[in-house]
């Protein structure tokens, strides 16, 4: 059973669907499912150019945004995505809620479930928190970033952007630069990109490359020298530097990090001239990326934000079909 839309210029895939009602990570999706989400996001993006940026697809459904970590862009993006699908949204401001009184994650989720929320979008600083919800409540769980584990919709929007600009993903050389060890964005990109047969290069100091990553992704290359890594690159995805890692001795100083891994105009010349520059945001301008790179023609950083809404609409829509099928 699929939802009817009131729009004629707006058609959505009708036959195939996602297998699970949760989106916990790209690790758990097949290539076909990833492509389905990306293809579904395209027509949703066309809505944005209309004067009324709203379709009734999820009217009557509710989406709870449960954010245990500060986030502006992901939370706003999910909220807009849900609203453009006509779903009702609720923001749980964790600082004000009973979580501060010591309520457990499971109890919080059960409370939300009792309020008949169809979706819970969760952002949490500990890996696996969305899995706990998925095992304990009947709502559809969407992982909006868990610890160092995954941030699947960020991975999807990055790949959507690459695909939109390059027309394909297969065979492209994609360099991910920075703190791979603590990055859920890197992990989701790794799963998505390798499933779509991109050539992925991870670049960062050895202290920030996770152990045995080569055993999990034998096809992925690791290069500590950014200039070498960038050679012939089609895409470079620059991760945000987390300053507290300096205190944990992963690198000696932000200054040295910036010297070795900061993306400058000069450095970018190692890559192909039409290289795409991605950054999940928020940026530390002048540290991992210079302003001239961030604002250059190669940069698709602002488009990533727009695409994020389309991808999240596609995710909510496709998961809602799994719900009704069950």
């Amino acid at each position: 059973m699929t939802k009817k839309t009131n729009s004629e210029e707006f058609s959505l895939p009708q036959k195939i669907s996602l297998k699970q009602k949760h989106l916990l990570g790209l690790e758990y999706l097949s290539k076909e499912e990833i492509l389905l989400i990306l293809d579904t996001a395209k027509p949703f993006k066309t809505i944005f150019t209309r004067s009324i940026k709203k379709v009734p697809t999820l009217r009557g459904r509710s989406v709870v945004l449960l954010f245990y970590e500060p986030s502006t862009r992901t939370r706003t993006s999910f909220e807009l995505a849900a609203k453009r699908l006509s779903a009702d949204t609720v923001n749980i401001a964790v600082q004000l809620s009973s979580v501060q009184k010591g309520e457990s994650l499971i109890d919080t989720a059960k409370t939300l479930e009792s309020m008949k929320s169809d979706f819970i979008v969760i952002r949490h600083s500990y890996s696996g928190a969305p899995h706990i919800l998925a095992q304990n409540v009947s709502s559809s769980i969407i992982n909006a970033g868990d610890g160092f584990h995954e941030h699947p919709t960020q991975g999807l929007l990055d790949i959507f952007t690459i695909r939109e600009k390059k027309g394909k993903v297969e065979g492209l050389k994609v360099v991910i630069v920075g703190d791979i060890l603590h990055s859920r964005v890197a992990r989701s990109n790794l799963w998505g990109l390798t499933k779509l047969s991109a050539r992925v290069v991870l670049c960062g100091p050895p202290t920030l490359i996770p152990k045995d990553i080569d055993k999990i992704f034998p096809q992925v290359e690791i290069e500590h020298d950014l200039d070498k890594a960038l050679r012939n690159a089609d895409v470079v995805n620059i991760l945000r530097v987390q300053f507290e890692r300096q205190l944990e001795h992963f690198f000696p100083s932000v200054r040295e990090y910036s010297l070795l891994y900061g993306m400058t105009k000069q450095r970018l010349k190692n890559a192909k001239s039409d290289v795409l520059v991605l950054h999940p945001g928020p940026m530390n301008r002048g540290i991992e990326i210079t302003t001239d790179v961030a604002d250059s023609l190669n940069s698709v950083i602002n488009e990533q934000v727009t695409n994020g809404i389309a991808v999240r609409m596609a995710v909510l829509y496709l998961l809602s079909l799994v719900n009704t099928n069950q």
């Binding site: 890996s127 696996g128 152990k211």
Partner: protein, 428 residues
Amino acid sequence: MKLLIKNGIVIEPQKNIEKKLDVLIENGKIVKLAEDIKLHNVEVINAKGCIVSAGLIDIHTHLREPGNEEEETIASGTKSAAAGGFTTVFCMPNTNPPIDDQAAVEFTMLKAKNEGVINVFPVGAATKGRRGEELTEIGELKKAGVVAISDDGEPISNSQIMRRVLEYSRMFDLPVISHCEDKTLSRGGVVNEGKVSTLLGFRGIPKEAEEIVVIRDIILCSLAKGRLHITHVSTKDSINFIRQAKKNGLKVTCDVTPHHFVLTEDYLLKYSYDTNLKINPPLRTQEDVDTIIEGIKDNTVDCIASDHAPHTVEEKSKEFDLAPFGIIGLETVLPLCITYLYYQHRIPLSKILEKLTINPAKIFGLSKKGRLEPGCDADVVIFNPQEEFVVKNFVSKSRNSPFIGWKLKGKVKYTICSGKVVYSEKNV
């Protein structure tokens, strides 16, 4: 009070006995082992089809009392032990307050005497408050009844203090049980560092965090001429270092837990984020498991211990990073040993039982325990090694076990402590 165990197969590793014998118990002691003992007016247990062994000794149990009675108490923990075939447990000093002085030892022993169903021997803390700074009054702890000393869970990071602990306890002939972990390497880690920590997005505990302290403690043991017992060994190289230390003639012994030779880190991928797989030391790799099995076979491994660590459902339902380490084990040690060591790896039952009875008794100086011989304490376990069952209910107050739902072989039928039946399958 006489009790006669008839028709069972007695396994007595010390004397290399493995045959059908009857066992007569009187006044809490083993009186006689012989074929077909005929006596009237005695209580008889028919052990047909079962193994009769000295009661099992667990050298690594957390009874949680005082301090965390919601997880386990001396009463519930000893009942759990009896259900698992144990007649003696050593309780670790990480209670609240810790067992670091005479009063705490006496409290534990008094509680155990009044409320426990089996023998409890406390392990005394090596340093005051388990802070790794000042030695406890080890002489007085010994006098009060401790069988070993350890800061289990809080490894002594200061090498000089560890050296002094090993040296000082030498005059009391007390082994020092070492939980080997370099906390500067393991800090923040929740699973083995490697494939699984990378995949699930966790900080890892590298195997080197254990090995570096295993090596240090072996070297300090040599310097101090002390007695070192390394507990819950989990890595390949730890086993190899210990094997070498023994060859070099050092007084080094060790134990392993069943979960470290049955499970690997890969179970975390299978049951993603199950906090009952959060254990310290963490579950390792197949290579480590294989070496532990080798170590059991070649006697590098002296003992098998439970590291029974009860936690409530509430604590274990937290986010993986926030949930406490540890699983309960007393009721699954024997069946896991029988299912995996005996049936899968073809290790003889006598060798398995040796590591659960006589070896712990010898290392920790329990002269009347761990053996089935006239004159010894009448601590006996009767179990059917062939009987299969599904793990589901626990006598322990807690149920944080990764083995729930597993089909295992080896069922305890009776546990007898000081000549008294303290567990019988029928009465559960």
